[in-house]
Amino acid sequence: MFPVPIEKTRPFTQISYKIALPISVILWLLPLAAIMLTSVRSMGDINAGNYWGLPTEWNIVENYTAVFQNTAMGQYLFNSIIITVPVAFFSVLLATLAGFALAKFKFKGNLAVLAMFIGGNFVPFQILMIPVRDLTIQLGMYDTIWALIIFHVAFQTGFCTLFMRNFIVGIPDELLESCRLDGASEWKIFRSIIIPLVRPALAALAVLIFTFVWNDYFWALVLVQSDEVRPITAGISALRGQWLASWNLLSAGSIVAALPPVIMFFVMQKHFIAGLTLGATKG
């Protein structure tokens, strides 16, 4: 293990390490702590310049209910959910199908298709913006949730396919061969062998995609515009203009918007990190 395990060092180093650890966490999360403190303050505190002392009144309930009552925040949250969940499902589904083909079939063009998915995944969004926006308008989907769902499914399929392909490569060929000898069709092999074996990867991937899509801001600006369909990133950004000096409400709103992916991360931590670091150990 590197660095040297702390329990093998001098007592002084050990104690300093144990003191440094919580201090470093506090420093690291300081900007966030500021927002959390601000979100429970009253306007009186904000106007009096009390930012770092304890709040004179704890307006937790007032501020957070104000966020939902006076704005379309509830609608934004709902929109984000009905956009993000289907995207996670469908992009993972398409990618599992394609990943199976890329991992377990030898055919001409295999690497070229893989390269297309990987390369496409890295392009800047702006090179897609005008044509995708036009296409969405032509299909009559501009300013509907379908505009975002379909685009995100298509785009995320690139990353997901690479991910699933790398996972399925690890499944031993003998398993598939023995089924083929029994006369099973490829579709049957996919359903009864591949799907059950890739379950852990599906979970990891779905959590990642949920987070990526939830946090998308660019396409939320480009493909939709009304409050009825706007996801929360674009929503909170629009509310900023309305809230100007009400930093307490803006902070509370920000925390509401950030919470779903944060909860998702803490609940599914192992899956999340496994998904994110795929490739950091090999390649």
């Binding site: 590197f2 199976f100 055919f107 296409l135 499914v153 944060v262 150990t281």
Partner: protein, 293 residues
């Protein structure tokens, strides 16, 4: 599979059927639009009326547009300073790579800024930098320095936004390095210790070379993050003051959506794409080299 018998048509078709839906959506929404954008960059178009072919005129106009050069220069600054995420991530990973009580929770707390939307990060840091209320001013005040309105100062604004972007990015590189450190074989470290390696020389000669895969991914995601820097610029300053914090991604959006200059926007997007293409080509080349073994 043996090459003795030639495959039937249906056998050859099978993989393509499995890939068909993914390829269809990806071609329609990702690959084809790239070419459409490039071709659109040779036209003048307001988004509604007729498209007029004007050759390289959009690119020539870009050359004379100071806003283009400002944005391009800011992209360079992003690329250079965003790279700090790599050594910082490694540093924090080394700091946290211990097995003391509660270390798992500490690692999670260090990592989780990464899952917060960049729009929220922008709000968090706008509050942090705020010249009259922000925490940064209070910290500066301790040292007797007057408040600095970072986001309103055209010389500092880009650095302020990059610093905000570094926060989640360091979290990301840190987690890559923690995983990398976890995968170094303990035998090798012990062997090096026997040979008397320790501290810095151990880090530089044994550990960092072993971490190469993690470093590669960390650099790739950081380059992409730097070139994709749209969300923070849009949500913190909208390119201001006076366009001084704009980057190509934001400049393109502004020109197309607000000024209805689609052809011009497409030309900016093409420039950004070509810069990214250098890295994409390099990454693909590395990946495919590994695939071929």
């Amino acid at each position: 599979m043996d090459a003795k018998y030639s495959k039937s048509w249906s056998e050859r078709l099978t993989p393509w059927l499995f890939m068909a839906p993914a390829i269809f959506f990806f071609l329609v929404y990702v690959i084809y639009p790239i070419f459409q954008s490039i071709s659109m960059s040779f036209y003048q178009w307001d988004g509604i009326g007729d498209k007029v072919f004007i050759g390289f005129q959009n690119y020539i106009d870009l050359g004379y547009d100071p806003q283009f050069w400002t944005s391009l220069w800011n992209n360079v600054l992003w690329l250079v300073f965003f790279m700090l995420a790599v050594p910082f991530g490694l540093g924090i990973a080394l700091f946290l790579n211990q097995q003391v009580l509660g270390i798992r929770a500490v690692k999670s707390l260090f990592f989780f800024p990464f899952v917060i939307s960049q729009v929220i990060i922008g709000i968090v840091f706008a509050w942090f930098y705020d010249p009259s209320y922000g925490l940064l001013q209070d910290i500066l005040g301790i040292f007797g320095i007057d408040p600095i309105p970072i986001l309103a100062n055209e010389h500092l604004v880009t650095y302020g936004i990059i610093a905000a972007g570094l926060w989640p990015q360091i979290a990301y590189t840190m987690i890559l390095y923690l995983t990398g450190l976890n995968n170094i074989s303990p035998d090798q470290i012990e062997a090096a210790r026997m040979d008397g390696a320790k501290g810095w020389s151990m880090l530089i000669h044994i550990i960092i070379p072993q971490l190469r895969p993690a470093t590669f991914i960390a650099v790739v995601v950081t380059v992409i993050g730097a070139l994709r820097s749209f969300d923070l610029v849009a949500s913190m300053t909208a390119g201001g003051p006076y366009g001084s914090s704009s980057v190509l991604a934001f400049f393109m959006y502004e020109q197309s959506i607000f000024n209805y200059r689609m052809g011009y926007g497409a030309a900016i997007a093409t420039v950004l794409f070509l810069i990214m293409l250098i890295y994409i080509a390099f990454f693909l080349w590395r990946m495919l080299k590994d695939e071929r073994g």
